[in-house]
């Protein structure tokens, strides 16, 4: 690099010292974009890393599971026999779901730390890292290891004991966690046994095992146990792929919004330096040298933006992770490490997209600048002319994008394709916006009465402000559209979900106690006084078309079976389909996932692997099954019991005769008399609260991303206003000197701004509706197999209008504050230079 180049660079960079606001906004745009993108990227990668680690459990390899075929516990004696037979890679686990006194549902995992096998691949003997905490952990009074994020969520401090709903206390909390513990509380088996209904284990995990030992193990297991390969890492990647695509798409949208700020800032930085660029060219600098200097500047910005953005990303990811971890655990039983892992690849990716984004933002303005500066220092007239050209070009490109999006819409077959079409659509709308803004100004000018001179002046001044607002308005449009579209999706989904819960979970009490004979409940005469109906459900876990699936067996005459909400059916009506299902043993109901994801239509036959080989069942109906990532087949109980010998109880649903506290208490007493413990059952109210809680937590990340996008758009708006202030200050000072009052001056800026915002808002309504339509009717179905009606509400859009007004008010007051500060100097400089 020669000295000349250095001086060119220095001359160009001096701009940023002189205009700190510009510098700040360029930074903010870069940092916000990179931050939002990398936050989601970090969270996604972190989750994927955790899925890959699903081959391990609590830091120990877990290649296989030993489970009871009937969902029962595994006896301790059997575990000891296996250890004594030399299977040292086997370790016991108890998993429990409990509710805290404040009603938060938490998962507990318990093992014997001393029994964990060494991981031969980890290269460390860390699994046998005996320290004080281990010894406290494995003996009474025990300890509860609580991951820091969970402790924070529960408001639990080290040394405190967490109180459960039934009044029992967990051991003293230690804020620490093992690998793959996720958001679960880790206990010793000894401590967990006092919480569990039986003394057995939920399952056994089998670490790394040689083929011969595997055969020996398989042969030595009693018939009621099965040895299942741990395919969780594959299943989880498969099942959660759509969720992560959704998140990625949202993060790219945020990046795009950030990029609009950057685009604005870069364009202005070049515009301001047109004189410098011209001087440099007149001094003999070659275009190539100038381009190289600006590229070097871009490189610096990209590095700075990436570094700061990444830091923001990490902070955001830390904030987003607990919610996402909770959702993944509730929906997919996926354990996501509570502590964040970072990768260099994410950082490099962040840097490359930043650099590409910057170059993309820079290339066109730079090209124009270099061309113009060589023959004229184009004045504002030239600028306006070229602006109008740009608007037309953008509009043409927008139409082209919209056309491609329209053509692509019918061909959407995957989540990625869906988001691609969505992206095209959004950008088409964004690029169409400038011409619409111009049209809006024209219309507004036409509406103002001829005699209202001030008003006409104010509106026509909008033309000179329009270029400055262009990118900010695009960002605002994207943010509004995303908020409306995603908000409508979430609202629609929530409505459908809550309605569905009411039908699906109509029973008053759900009892799950594998150790109890639930049929006894129905046969005890005393229970007749409170028990109106019951529904004992059974199930068989299996795999169908490579995915974990469940075959459910139920009472076809139970209240919830009779009212099962169907989304599609064969025959005349849903009722007729349900009747066919009750009467014909060769029919099956499938969930929407089977219909949408596996493409099975009502009337088709599905082959299920039974104990007696493959059997075909005719699909007579498709039922809604929100929140479930797995395939489900619903058959009459007797069919399941006759075709699958290893079915297990999925609990019993009980309907009370009266819906009051007294009936509930009577029921609870009867259950206790039967041997059930508090915690074995859950009331309808609790289960609904829990389900809706999981739902809300799942979409909390969406709400957060929406809010962040809005903030970025607000910053873009502020940046534009300040740029206008900066650029027009001498002019405003002149007008001020001619007698314009401060309030009028503010109106001069506010009126065009309000017109532009109103146009963006109006455009966001149909766009938001279109976005939610595609999300609900295309992407949600492709991703999750959940269908639901789109529910459009006007209130959220009005709320957004309110938010936009607040943003305008805030930015305007900031600007007026700046004006007040700068005006005296600008007035003093009047006449010096213009």
């Amino acid at each position: 690099m020669n000295a000349g180049f250095f001086w060119i660079l220095k001359a160009l960079l001096s701009h940023y010292w002189r205009h700190p606001w510009q510098t700040l906004f360029l930074c903010v745009g870069l940092v916000a974009g990179v931050g939002l993108w990398s936050a989601v990227q970090i969270v996604n990668q972190h989750a994927e890393t955790s899925y890959r680690q699903a081959q391990s459990l609590l830091g120990a390899q877990a290649s296989y599971w030993i489970r009871s075929r009937r969902g029962q516990d595994i006896e301790q004696a059997l575990y000891i026999d296996l250890r004594r037979a030399g299977f040292r890679q086997i370790f016991p686990l108890i998993e429990l779901e409990v509710s805290t006194a404040s009603g938060i549902s938490i998962s507990i995992i318990a093992t014997d730390l001393l029994a964990l096998p060494d991981d031969p691949y980890s290269g460390s003997d860390d699994t046998q890292d005996f320290s004080d905490s281990w010894l406290e952990m494995v003996q009474a009074p025990y300890r509860a290891w609580v991951p820091a994020v969970l402790a924070q969520e529960l408001g639990l401090k080290p040394g405190e004991r967490l109180r459960l709903r039934d009044g029992r206390l967990l051991p003293l909390a230690l804020i620490q966690a093992r690998e793959q513990q996720g958001r679960r509380v880790l206990l010793d088996i000894g401590a967990a046994q006092s919480l569990a209904p039986s003394d057995g284990f939920s399952y056994l995990a089998v670490g790394s095992i040689a083929p011969r030992a595997y055969q020996r193990l398989a042969a030595s297991l009693p018939d009621h146990l099965e040895l299942i390969e741990n395919q969780q890492h594959i299943d989880l990647q498969d099942l959660t792929a759509s969720l992560h695509s959704h998140l990625s798409a949202m993060s790219l949208l945020s990046f795009a919004v950030g990029l609009f700020i950057v685009f604005n800032a870069v364009r202005f930085s070049l515009w301001y330096r047109r004189a410098t660029l011209l001087d440099l060219r007149l001094l003999g600098c070659a275009s190539a040298q100038l381009v190289a200097a600006i590229l070097a500047e871009t490189l610096v910005w990209s590095l700075l933006g990436t570094a700061l953005g990444f830091v923001l990303g990490v902070l955001l990811a830390q904030a987003l992770l607990p919610g996402l971890g909770a959702s993944l655990q509730s929906l997919y039983a996926a354990t996501v490490e509570a502590e964040l892992g970072l990768s260099w690849i994410t950082l490099l990716q962040a840097w490359s997209i930043t650099l590409l984004g910057l170059i993309w933002a820079l290339s066109w303005p730079l090209y124009r600048q270099l061309r113009q500066s060589s023959f004229s220092a184009a004045g504002s007239e030239g600028l306006l002319r070229s602006e109008s050209r740009t608007r037309r070009w953008l509009a043409l490109t927008a139409l082209l994008l919209a056309l491609i999006a329209g053509l692509g819409y019918g061909r959407i077959a995957s989540v990625t394709q869906g988001f691609f079409v969505l992206g095209l659509m959004l950008f088409a709308a964004a690029w169409l916006l400038p011409i619409l803004l111009a049209a809006g100004l024209r219309v507004a000018a036409g509406l103002v009465p001829r005699e209202s001179l001030t008003m006409r002046w104010m509106i026509s001044d909008g033309w000179s402000q329009l270029p400055a607002y262009r990118s900010a308005m695009m960002a605002l449009l994207l943010a509004l559209t995303a908020n409306l579209g995603v908000g409508t999706l979430v609202d629609s989904f929530r409505g459908a979900f809550v309605g569905w819960l009411e039908l699906r979970q109509s029973a008053d009490i759900y009892l799950r106690a594998p150790h109890l004979d639930l049929r006894q409940l129905e046969s005890v005469p005393a229970n007749a006084s409170w028990l109106a109906a019951s529904h004992h459900r059974i199930g068989v876990s299996t795999r169908w078309r490579g995915r974990p699936s469940l075959i459910r067996g139920g009472d076809t005459g139970a209240p919830d079976s009779l009212a099962l909400p169907l989304s599609k059916w064969q025959g005349e009506s849903a009722a007729a389909a349900l009747q066919a299902w009750r009467e014909r043993p060769d029919t099956v109901l499938v969930n929407e996932q089977v219909h949408f994801l596996a493409g099975v239509e009502p009337g088709e036959r599905v082959a299920l692997e039974t104990d007696n080989g493959l059997r075909n069942y005719e699909v007579v109906g498709v039922f809604y099954d929100y929140g479930n990532p797995y395939f489900q087949f619903y058959l009459p109980e007797q069919v399941v019991a006759s075709q699958w010998s290893h079915y297990y109880s999925r609990g019993i649903a009980l309907w009370l005769k009266q819906d009051n506290n007294a009936a509930m208490q009577q029921a609870e007493q009867s259950l206790k008399a039967l041997g059930a413990q508090a915690g074995d059952w859950i009331s309808q109210a609790q289960i609904r609260k829990l389900s809706v809680g999981i739902f809300d937590r799942t979409f909390a990340i969406t709400a957060a991303m929406n809010a962040l996008t809005m903030i970025v758009a607000a910053i873009a708006l502020l940046a534009s206003l300040l740029a206008i202030l900066q650029e027009r200050l001498p002019q405003f000072a002149q007008w001020r000197a001619l007698g314009l009052r401060q309030g009028e001056q503010l109106l001069l800026v506010a009126i065009p701004l309000l017109i532009f915002c109103a146009i963006a808002w109006v455009l966001s309504l149909p766009l938001g509706a279109l976005l939610s339509w595609i999300l609900i009717h295309k992407l949600n179905i492709i991703s999750f197999g959940w269908s639901m009606p789109l529910v459009w509400k006007f209130a959220p859009s009005l709320q957004l209008a309110g938010i936009v007004l607040v943003i305008c008010a805030l930015t305007l007051s900031l600007v007026s504050f700046q004006w007040r500060r700068k005006m005296p100097r600008a007035l003093a400089q009047l006449g010096e230079t213009i």
Binding site: R83, R84, Q139
Partner: protein, 363 residues
């Protein structure tokens, strides 16, 4: 002998804060645990079983063996018990008994070892005098020393080290020997002591299986039993321990507890071919290290250890040189130490016996 080593077992729940001084726990006063007092008679078979009221305990077997080509092999198998708190809880997941096991094999090709841990009370590890068959049994997972009576021997020892499977049949050829004074073995002038008895007369034969290779071995073994609640005095940093099978049929156990101030604590037993034993006190033993050599201890680190020794007794007036069969018999376990096969030579350099040596507490 090495039994002490066992003490290390106490170390294993070593406090993190004591990590610099891994033997710290051994010096703990052991308050609340049953205490070792003189004058108590050992009772068998009861004392072959566990003493959960005492803090630490071990069943410690070493064997010096030869294969059919006359090459030397060595085996070590040890089960350690530790009570984590006074007032033993023996049964169930709430048990406060922890178990640790060490196994090592010295082959003509090198030295290999393994360690295991288990909690008590659930059947995964323990010592029982009345198991399913009513016989003595000491086990952890699939490692076990199982007798066919309530007595320690005859017994079958079965364990693995990595991919080697070892089976050894052990038979007593003499009586049990109570060390110290009737089994009360004093470890310092301040009164630290343990109950300690041995079976030094063991005929051992068996084999090592590794893949398709099977090596038949035979030789002599030594089994130590020791329990205590406090094993080291504050000023003791570690010990050097020897159990030697002499060619003339005598057995010799000698240990030295090294003091960081003043003279070391020396003790031992001179055991005749028929089991008659004589306590050797400090004045009767002259033990000096004659050569210090570096030993690789893993992670590319080496440690200098006194690997060669000169041992002399006043009565009988005998003098031997003790050398390791191989220098590299380091036990890179949670509490690391050196333990391995040693060769015994007389003053003329002729072979006088074979045995095991244990060196602990060297930093």
């Amino acid at each position: 002998m090495k039994r002490l080593l066992l003490l290390i077992c106490c170390l294993w729940p070593v406090q993190t804060s004591l990590a610099q001084d891994v033997l710290g726990d051994l010096r703990d006063q052991g308050l609340g645990f049953a205490q070792v007092t003189p004058g108590k008679r050992l009772q068998f078979p009861r004392d072959h079983g566990a003493h959960p009221d005492y803090r630490i305990e071990w069943w410690y077997l070493t064997a010096n063996l030869t294969d059919r080509e006359g090459r030397n092999w060595g085996l070590q198998w040890t089960l350690f018990r530790q009570a984590l708190s006074p007032q033993a809880v023996e049964v169930g997941w709430h048990s406060n008994q922890l178990w640790m096991a060490h196994a090592a094999i010295t082959t003509p090709q090198g030295h290999h070892h393994e360690q295991r841990f288990a909690r008590g009370g659930i059947g995964q590890a323990g010592v029982s005098l009345s198991g399913r068959d009513g016989f003595f049994n000491a086990w952890m997972d699939d490692w076990e020393l199982r007798s066919n009576s309530a007595a320690l021997l005859p017994a079958k020892l079965k364990f693995t080290v990595d991919d080697r499977e070892i089976i050894l049949l052990l038979e007593a050829t003499g009586e049990l020997v109570a060390n110290g004074v009737d089994g009360y073995s004093q470890k310092s002038a301040q009164g630290q002591a343990s109950y300690y008895y041995s079976q030094p007369h063991i005929k051992a034969r068996g084999f090592v299986n590794q893949g398709l290779d099977k090596t038949y071995l035979s030789g002599q073994g030594w089994l130590d039993r020791e329990w205590s609640s406090q094993a080291l005095a504050q000023n003791q940093q570690g010990w050097d321990w020897f159990s030697l099978h002499l060619n003339d049929g005598h057995k010799l156990m000698v240990y030295q507890l090294r003091h960081d101030d003043g003279e070391h604590w020396l003790s031992g037993n001179w055991i005749g071919p028929r089991g008659e034993t004589r306590l050797l006190d400090r004045g009767a033993i002259d033990l000096d290290s004659t050569r210090v050599r570096p030993v690789a201890i893993g992670d590319n680190r080496v440690r200098s250890l006194p690997l060669e020794w000169q041992l002399a007794l006043a009565e009988p007036q005998r003098r031997w040189r003790i050398k390791p069969l191989y220098d590299q018999q380091w036990m890179d376990t949670r509490i690391p130490y050196w333990e391995g096969v040693v060769l015994v030579e007389d003053e003329q350099g002729a072979s006088a016996g074979i045995g095991y040596m244990e060196l602990t507490g060297y930093e």
